[in-house]
């Protein structure tokens, strides 16, 4: 298993409650939490994988917090862990002293270009693909990070040990398992792998149902 966020296939969560089309932020502070997280990220002190892992490390708060509470808590943790803020500043003991990173502040005029620039993760570097579309593959088991104990990975536990078939190769992408821990980009091929529902669940709803999961080459072996 990985961590508390890894919930695919879990029982007991009750109904999905649709919300109306057109609603973007249910409360004003939701939008503020999202914007603050993006603006803090623009200071360049961490990457998206580190940011995801910070949410996954919230521990019991992960279940207790609503969605944007997770975001804001992880942002606060990252600011302190990376030395941007001192913990005492979170209790309101703020100084007005100019911050060395202030020059990197995301300006209002730069928001549009920053959001439209994005952050592509495809890379020319890395190994050549060893699997081809149509090929059978086995997912590594156990599913937890091979690089760091309790570390970030994008291999969901429900797929561990399952046998699937490569649908397509997406090219070489940054490996989050490395990138979330300061271990470089370590790009490798990512594949969309299709699994029959019967390979994943004891009681699949339909004989022809499938789940497709994007998986890095190091998560897979030939079947």
């Amino acid at each position: 298993m990985t961590r508390v966020h890894d919930m695919g296939g879990r029982f007991g969560d009750g109904p999905v409650i649709p919300d109306p089309e057109g609603e973007v932020f249910h409360d004003d502070w939701h939008g503020r939490a999202l914007a603050l997280t993006l603006a803090a990220g623009a200071l360049g002190q961490w990457n998206l994988d580190i940011s995801r892992h910070a949410r996954e490390r919230l521990g019991p708060d992960y279940n207790r917090f609503s969605y944007y509470e997770k975001w804001i808590a992880a942002t606060a943790d990252l600011l302190v862990e990376n030395g941007v803020l001192d913990a005492s500043e979170l209790t309101g003991d703020a100084t007005d002293a100019p911050h060395p990173l202030a020059a990197r502040k995301l300006a209002a005029e730069a928001v549009s270009s920053a959001l439209s620039r994005g952050g592509p993760v495809d890379r020319d570097a890395g190994p050549a693909p060893i699997f081809q579309p149509g090929q059978a593959v086995l997912v590594r088991r156990p599913a937890d990070s091979q690089l760091v104990e309790g570390g970030h990975t994008r291999l969901p536990a429900y797929a561990a040990g399952a046998r699937g078939k490569v649908l397509r190769c997406h090219g070489n992408h940054i490996l989050p398992d490395a990138h979330a821990h300061g271990l470089g980009e370590a790009p490798e091929p990512v594949y969309a792998v299709a699994f029959p529902a019967s390979e994943l669940w004891a009681h699949p709803e339909h004989p022809r149902d499938e789940v497709v999961i994007d998986l890095w080459q190091s998560y897979l072996t030939a079947a």
């Binding site: 409360d27 944007y68 620039r117 339909h206």
Partner: protein, 240 residues
């Protein structure tokens, strides 16, 4: 996340006033508070923030603005972008074009990133796009079981249900029961293919074009394409 929506506006206004007063009190009280000396190495720094979530966000914004690290106008601009500029109408435009132009459809299915980028739909959380098409044989549905990955430049910010534990846990295991929560029933011989967005690839579902729409313009077609139909929890022409 799934609060009762009755009386939402007046409640929000009420809470805003309540919160402003609390922020003032917080800012006053912390000035006289002693320095915390002994953080346990296990404690998360976020636990030092106020307990009310809205107040917590306000407190963090206040600190970052005071240190010159965040421009409040930039926060307004980010919110405005996703409230007013980038949303499901972008994805609906793509779907309507795919329905009405076979060449566009072929390009979209072959290389969605390049095809939608050419329309200006590119950016954060939409750097690598794949379009998947519903057919009478296969219905596609998208989830992110590990967090909330979603094609922002095409659909905007994900709805609360998409980020809910219930959807993340159940969509991969019992997609038909999840569809029933949305009032959708598939024909018994239609298979479901659920895409779990575990990498940076973002999936856009091209719903089936509804019957009887032959004479419609592209704009009229786009109006039939709901946000949920492009995630795969609704059918086109039947907005949730």
């Amino acid at each position: 996340m799934q609060d009762c929506r009755a009386g939402q506006e007046s409640f929000a206004a009420l809470r805003q006033g309540h919160m402003d007063a609390r922020v003032d009190r917080w800012e006053t009280s912390v000035q006289s508070a002693p320095m915390p000396h002994d953080h346990s190495g296990d404690a998360h720094p976020h636990s030092l923030l106020p307990s009310d979530p809205a107040l917590r966000v306000k407190a963090l914004e206040t600190v970052l603005v005071r240190r010159g690290l965040v421009d409040p106008a930039a926060l307004d601009a980010i919110i405005d972008t996703y409230e007013n500029k980038i949303g499901p109408k972008n994805g609906a435009d793509v779907v309507a074009r795919a329905w009405s132009d076979p060449g566009f459809r072929a390009d979209l299915l072959a290389d969605a990133t390049a095809t939608v980028s050419a329309l200006g739909y590119y950016g954060r959380q939409g750097e690598h796009i794949v379009a998947v098409e519903n057919t009478p044989e296969t219905h596609n549905m998208v989830v992110c079981t590990l967090c909330s990955c979603y094609p922002w430049p095409l659909l905007g910010i994900p709805p609360a249900w998409y980020k809910s534990d219930a959807y993340r846990a159940r969509a991969v295991r019992e997609p038909r029961k999840v569809l029933a929560d949305f009032g959708v029933a598939l024909p018994p011989d239609t298979a479901v293919r659920v895409w779990d967005s575990t990498a940076e690839v973002r999936y856009l579902v091209i719903p089936m074009r509804p019957e009887g729409t032959d004479g419609l313009s592209r704009e009229e077609l786009a109006a039939l394409v709901s946000r949920d139909s492009m995630i795969g929890t609704a059918l086109a022409g039947a907005a949730a």
